[in-house]
Symmetry: C2
Subunit: 363 residues, 2 copies
DNA sequence: GTGAGTCATGGTAACGCTACCAGTAATGCC
DNA sequence: GGCATTACTGGTAGCGTTACCATGACTCAC
């Protein structure tokens, strides 16, 4: 029999193909491909002709075909833990953007930090054929999750771990320096009794922030500015509730602190709430600062002076690293460490919750 | 010359292909495809053999190839406006999940609700070859954005608009009923002076909620329970700050309300903050309820009694609708209206910020 | 003037999968 | 028994793109 009737697949939806562009520009598809992908070895005249044809036809390359031909389109996993939504949303925006830039798929998976749950989550990821995983906090600190991932030989990028584990790549800010900087600012304002609320002990960023805080205090003591005040600190757990408890204790002390540095914004918000309940004005009677610059920092009133992490950028960076890794680092051998560890600059955000102390503390 | 040297593309990364599975199961690739895609017309024996082979080989279909062959893999746009992160993150999780289920790409684009910005954003989306757009609040109410999108003939699904525009598909909850329900609850608790803080006037959901509130009040008045109290209402704008202003006015009134229903959680949180500042205990002295069940509702203390929108589910539903639409509704003609409008059930979330009023109000 | 580059372009064969047809065997119906 | 129908399976031809040569046309050195 003759050859089976030529198939007429819909050919309606998707607009022009690379062939259409090639025909219109009077070149071969290959040349179009080169122009579109910014490849060298195309003469200026040809390039412009192709570009015009692309514009005229409204051509945009078919992602599926491109991925198939170039063996791209890998799937990357994003394991997220407790729904710290404000963080997560920014994170997702950054990650998604980077993912679509690289033409990779992003697969989300929720996971509690227990061994059982993490095993299950990793299995699901593996079933989804992901080839690398991003670990935002707090999962980046979960040994269980990391162990499971390592067992599956998946490359990992942790984001925002205070002290990144040695067996993963990481993107983070310098929690220590940021806390140091913030504390110096508080001291510079003239505060002498600055209290600190620690973050959750299971996260190394908590410790780093605490270390930065004490370092600034010691620095000030050494330089002889004022006598060394007693250290006021409460353990918190990053939750609003824990911040409330800590604030209660801190504000009941005599003398009470004139400034409180909370390890994150939720706890700082709680401090403000407690201060208000006691009839204290922020920042006139009490300075309160946070860390992270999550949504709540600019939601509440007064808005929080805090440290900003460029979360979206960090997420994008993490995806970049993962893509580079799974696509083969070109040069053989393990990545140089500067490729494995990225330190992103943070920013000091001055808003309304911090001011110089009143002369002579309250009774 | 002889045929050009056989290409040896990496063939390392991606595991088994459909052919490997076919060989192992002793069937043709087509049959494997049918099994994997849940197609009918495969005998039980064959199906099981194939499934075993799939498991053994850890086969997982190549998304790019599948998309290419079946002309799937379209790009869908997600235009988001002000970074109401708590909302956005849940939204993204749901949307991403649905997107990967359907094998479509999700392209995010940020956009202010001005004509200029929306024109630009839509142009970018078009350049990215998206074939449909999801519009979460507050963009779903922007006529400018919708006009721009309609001009580009892109199908739209608005999410959580109080009164969905006629020219789009939509997924939403019944804001009116939810507010009605919440108000009935408050009334049922025994509150007689229930105040309301309206949402931003540029969003139709605000009006719906207000209508639900007043309807419940009228219902109670008609049934003769208690004399009809004066209506206490303040205009808010969904922001914490506006909630604070409203709360100040409401709580300064005499008699002050015993319960305040804020149109969203941020404003409810502000009411609590202001109540605390005045030395009022929530819920003993004042009941406060919110709407949306965003992150802040369970962050603050006491946690908010509120109305929950299943945001992730709504987002997923929106993606589903878009995919159905762009893949061609099978049957010709415009979609039936029940396919174009989906009403998702909301939930009443009882937490700690509401209680029965004290006997005899405060002075 | 020959050989060895560089630059610019084109041809061909995949990439892994599914749509579309074409069977074959079993079943039902008159 | 003939013939349509159904249940199942396989072959073939792409889907739109890029990788990998091959091919010319030049340029440059010796």
């Amino acid at each position: 029999m003759s050859k089976p009737a030529r198939r007429t697949r819909s050919r309606f939806r998707g607009g022009a193909t690379i062939k259409d562009v090639a025909r219109r520009a009077g070149v071969s598809p290959m040349t179009v491909s080169r122009v579109v992908n910014g490849n060298s070895y195309v003469s200026d005249g040809t390039r412009q002709a192709v570009q015009r044809a692309v514009r005229d036809l409204g051509y945009s390359p078919n992602l599926a075909a491109r991925n198939l031909a170039s063996e791209r389109g890998e799937r990357l996993g994003l394991l997220y833990g407790n729904p710290s939504s404000a963080y997560l949303s920014e994170f997702l925006v950054g990650a998604l953007d980077a993912a679509s830039r690289h033409g990779v798929q992003l697969v989300l998976e929720k996971c509690e930090p227990t061994p059982v749950a993490s095993r299950r989550a990793v299995r699901r990821l593996l079933a989804g054929a992901v080839v690398g995983v991003v670990l935002p906090p707090p999962l980046c600190e979960s040994a269980a999750v990391r162990a499971e991932l390592n067992a599956a030989r998946l490359p990992i990028v942790t984001v925002a771990a205070g002290r990144p584990p040695a067996d993963t790549m990481c993107v983070r800010i310098d929690d220590y320096s940021a806390a140091l900087e913030m504390t110096r600012y508080l001291l510079g304002l003239g505060h002498e009794r600055v209290a600190f609320i620690k973050g959750h002990p299971n996260q190394s960023a908590s410790e780093e922030r605490w270390l930065g805080f004490t370092a600034a205090l010691e620095e000030a003591a050494r330089s002889g500015r004022g006598e060394r005040p007693p250290l006021q600190m409460e353990q918190g757990f990053f939750s609003f509730r824990s911040g409330l408890d800590a604030a209660r204790k801190l504000l009941a002390a005599d003398p009470a602190p004139t400034a409180i540095f909370a390890s994150n914004d939720d706890m700082a918000a709680a401090v403000i709430a407690e201060a208000h309940r006691r009839g204290l004005d922020v920042p006139r009677d009490l300075t309160v600062v946070g860390f992270d610059d999550t949504l709540i920092a600019s939601t509440i009133w007064p808005e929080l002076t805090t440290i900003q992490q460029p979360i979206a950028r960090m997420a994008a960076e993490a995806i970049d690293m993962l893509v580079t890794t799974v696509r083969g680092g070109r040069g053989a051998g393990p990545e140089p460490s500067n490729r494995r560890h990225r330190l992103i600059p943070h920013a000091f955000i001055s808003r309304e919750s911090a001011a110089a102390p009143k002369l002579r503390g309250r009774a």
